[in-house]
């Protein structure tokens, strides 16, 4: 894969995205390794999960790419057709870099920003580890490293993109299951790929990019087969900012009730204890 990519666009930068195509993934985990290698992230330990060959479980502060191993019933007719235990689908998970990102909106320090490439980036020199982004992410991506004290997640290889390089995971992917490029071009490529897959009989292939929910679409979308829920992809992810209006309304009502209650309480209590109050 070529190292560079062209950048011209509005304000000099292109909005970039990942298209992760699970129908091309071979589960080699090269993306996980390349990501750790480039970003210098610590190892996760060597625990056996018992869940297929996935011993990582989920993305987190020390895992920014994570290959999911989704086992299905045996499915003769596609792939190798061996009547072996199960058929596999692999899908490399990553921070979704939401259009409306819960973590970015929630961050009280302004540490989490939107980069010129449209990615969501945690500035490590600003983050103070308040942990609010952790509960604000509808995909459970960002996590606080309790040893370090700060929150971490995929940077969308901001440093590499800055100098015109493709992110480490997409560079390492041997099957081009992870595609990187301009967002609208990738959305188009996804549609073409879906048509191709549907033509081949994989009618359950679909694009996961919840643009109708309050996250308003992703900058890292996925082609998956079957129900996205078996890949731990929520059907209706909501950016928690959608809940603010009701919350603040309730807060205002509560504040009004306290003022009214205190006013009523002190107005109707004639027996003031002035004698006890004076020194």
């Amino acid at each position: 894969m070529s190292a560079g990519f062209a950048l011209p666009s509005k304000n000099g930068h292109r909005t970039t995205a990942f298209l992760t195509d699970s129908t091309l993934c071979i589960g080699c985990k090269a993306c996980e390794v390349a990501c750790k290698e480039w970003n210098g992230i610590s190892a996760d330990g060597f625990d056996w999960s018992g869940f297929s060959y996935d011993n990582t479980g989920a993305v987190g502060h020390s895992t920014w790419r994570h290959v999911k191993f989704v086992e299905h019933q045996p499915e003769p007719g596609f792939g190798g057709n061996a009547a072996d235990p199960s058929s596999w689908v692999f899908s490399s998970d990553v921070c979704k870099h939401c259009e409306v990102a819960g973590c970015l909106e929630a961050c009280p320090t302004g540490s989490i920003v939107r980069t010129e490439f449209g990615g969501v980036y945690v500035q490590p020199d600003v983050c103070n580890g308040c942990g609010y982004c952790v509960v604000a992410c509808p995909f459970g991506v960002v996590q606080k490293n309790t040893d370090d004290g700060r929150a971490f997640k995929c940077t969308f290889c901001y440093d590499r993109q800055k100098v015109g390089l493709v992110p480490a995971c997409a560079t390492a992917c041997p099957t081009e299951s992870i595609k990187f490029g301009e967002i609208e071009e990738l959305r188009l490529a996804a549609q073409q790929r879906l048509q191709e897959l549907h033509g081949r009989g994989m009618t359950d292939a679909q694009l996961y990019d919840p643009r109708q929910s309050s996250v308003k679409g992703l900058h890292a979308f996925f082609i998956v087969r079957g129900d996205p829920r078996q890949y731990n992809l929520p059907p209706n992810p909501e950016a928690p900012t959608a809940y603010l209006r009701e919350g603040w309304r309730s807060s205002a009502i509560g504040a009004g009730a306290l003022v009214a209650g205190a006013l009523l309480a002190f107005l109707t209590s004639p027996g003031s204890k002035r004698k006890r109050g004076r020194r």
């Binding site: 018992g50 996935d54 989920a58 999911k68 299905h72 019933q73 499915e75 003769p76 061996a82 009547a83 072996d84 199960s86 819960g102 909106e105 929630a106 009280p108 320090t109 983050c127 103070n128 580890g129 308040c130 509960v135 604000a136 509808p138 459970g140 490293n145 004290g149 009989g201 079957g226 129900d227 829920r229 078996q230 890949y231 731990n232 929520p234 209706n236 992810p237 909501e238 928690p240 809940y243 603010l244 919350g247 603040w248 309730s250 807060s251 509560g254 504040a255 009730a257 306290l258 003022v259 209650g261 205190a262 006013l263 309480a265 002190f266 107005l267 003031s272 204890k273 109050g277 020194r279």
Partner: protein, 367 residues
């Protein structure tokens, strides 16, 4: 559809696989597609990622990573904010100057303790000042940090200025500072006493965001009760106004308990079951019906019995308020671990039930 009965007892696994493969190839050549199911091997079903079981039941949401300081901060902040409002009201209406002064100290002390608790929870406490780096309306955490800063400053100024005024007589600039800062302290005390409900309501945690419309009032009333109870224990357990406020907050907390218990929603399960359910329910009883009864019985006659009952109600309410905060945060942890909720899966999946009740499926099944 041609099927080939294969049994593991007669043929080796390799043979049976080869036979099945041959059959599939034959069928694929003649018909172009093989609609049959494959073989279910011994030990099946293995844990599978499926529409029924999610991704091996691994929860997709992250648990809150706040330390135990945070629910304690919710408690202290709620009490301090409410005390500022109550104290200011008592002062403005000229009803109870001693109560007002104690409320100012409570607000000031609470703000200081709150700041300490919040800072010690940070992953990098040395960077606490970064909280005031930006002003973000869409972040309740940012709003809370600014509110705390304003509230803390005003509460300190009002507590000391009013003290000076009472000690050294009415000095013009000091009394102005005292009155203005008391107003500012009460003004910011209003959002400060209940914004924590907005804070946890605007998250991805189901049990919190499902209750976003009542959590701020709930946390606010819990804070009012804590503030009232502390003031009573500080020597004002015959104040009728405080008892009225206490009765008001216990009434609301009783309603809130009923409101939560009467809803049969899967997302609210952590408030009713397990350790978090035990804490929230105990907290609910201790800040709702129990102190309500004690307060109604106690009244504010100033008799020994009345004071004893009021003191009991205050202590009960304090513990209840504290438990409520810990219960809700604990429930947030359980809720994040419930993988079914964000995936919108029914609580009891029929397929999963079948898998659990029939562990011994046929070792090999073809067709």
């Amino acid at each position: 559809m041609s099927t080939l009965p294969i049994e593991r007892t007669r043929t080796s696994p390799e043979e049976s696989r080869e036979a099945r493969l041959l059959e599939i190839r034959r069928e694929a050549e003649t018909r172009g597609i093989v609609p049959a199911r494959g073989i279910r091997p011994a030990g099946a079903p293995f844990p599978q990622a499926s529409v029924e079981t999610g991704y091996y039941g691994i929860h997709l949401l992250k648990e809150p990573q706040w330390t135990a300081e945070i629910p304690l901060y919710f408690f202290v902040g709620g009490a301090a904010g409410s005390a500022a409002v109550i104290g200011a009201m008592a002062d403005w209406l000229g009803r109870d100057p001693a109560l007002a002064q104690k409320a100012r100290w409570l607000a000031f002390g609470g703000a200081m303790v709150s700041s300490a608790l919040l800072t010690s929870d940070l992953g990098m406490p040395s960077r606490f000042i970064n909280m005031l780096r930006v002003f973000k309306v869409q972040s309740p955490m940012s709003m809370g940090a600014w509110t705390l800063a304003a509230f803390g400053g005003a509460s300190a100024a009002s507590a000391f200025a009013k003290l000076a005024e009472r000690r050294f007589g009415c000095n013009f600039p000091v009394s102005i500072i005292g009155n203005v800062s008391q107003f500012v302290s009460a003004l910011f005390g209003l959002p400060f006493h209940n914004y924590t409900g907005v804070l946890i309501g605007a998250t991805a945690i189901p049990v919190w965001n499902k209750n976003r419309a009542t959590l701020p009032i709930h946390f606010g009333m819990s804070g009012v009760q804590a503030g009232v109870s502390l003031l009573e224990l500080m020597g004002h357990c015959d104040s009728r106004a405080l008892n009225m406020l206490g009765i008001g907050s216990t009434l609301f907390e009783t309603w809130e308990g009923y409101h939560l218990e009467s809803q049969n929603e899967p997302a609210l399960k952590p408030l009713k079951r397990g350790v978090s359910g035990l804490i929230t329910r105990t907290g609910g009883v201790m800040s709702g019906p129990l102190p309500l009864v004690l307060r109604l019985l106690g009244g504010s006659s100033g008799s020994r019995r009345s004071r004893r009952l009021r003191r009991a109600a205050a202590m009960c309410g304090l513990v209840g308020s504290l438990l409520t905060r810990y219960g809700w945060v604990h429930a947030g942890h359980s809720s994040a671990r419930d993988w079914r909720l964000p995936l919108e899966m029914p609580a009891q999946s029929p397929v999963l039930e079948e898998m659990q009740t029939k562990p011994n499926m046929p070792a090999i099944r073809a067709g």
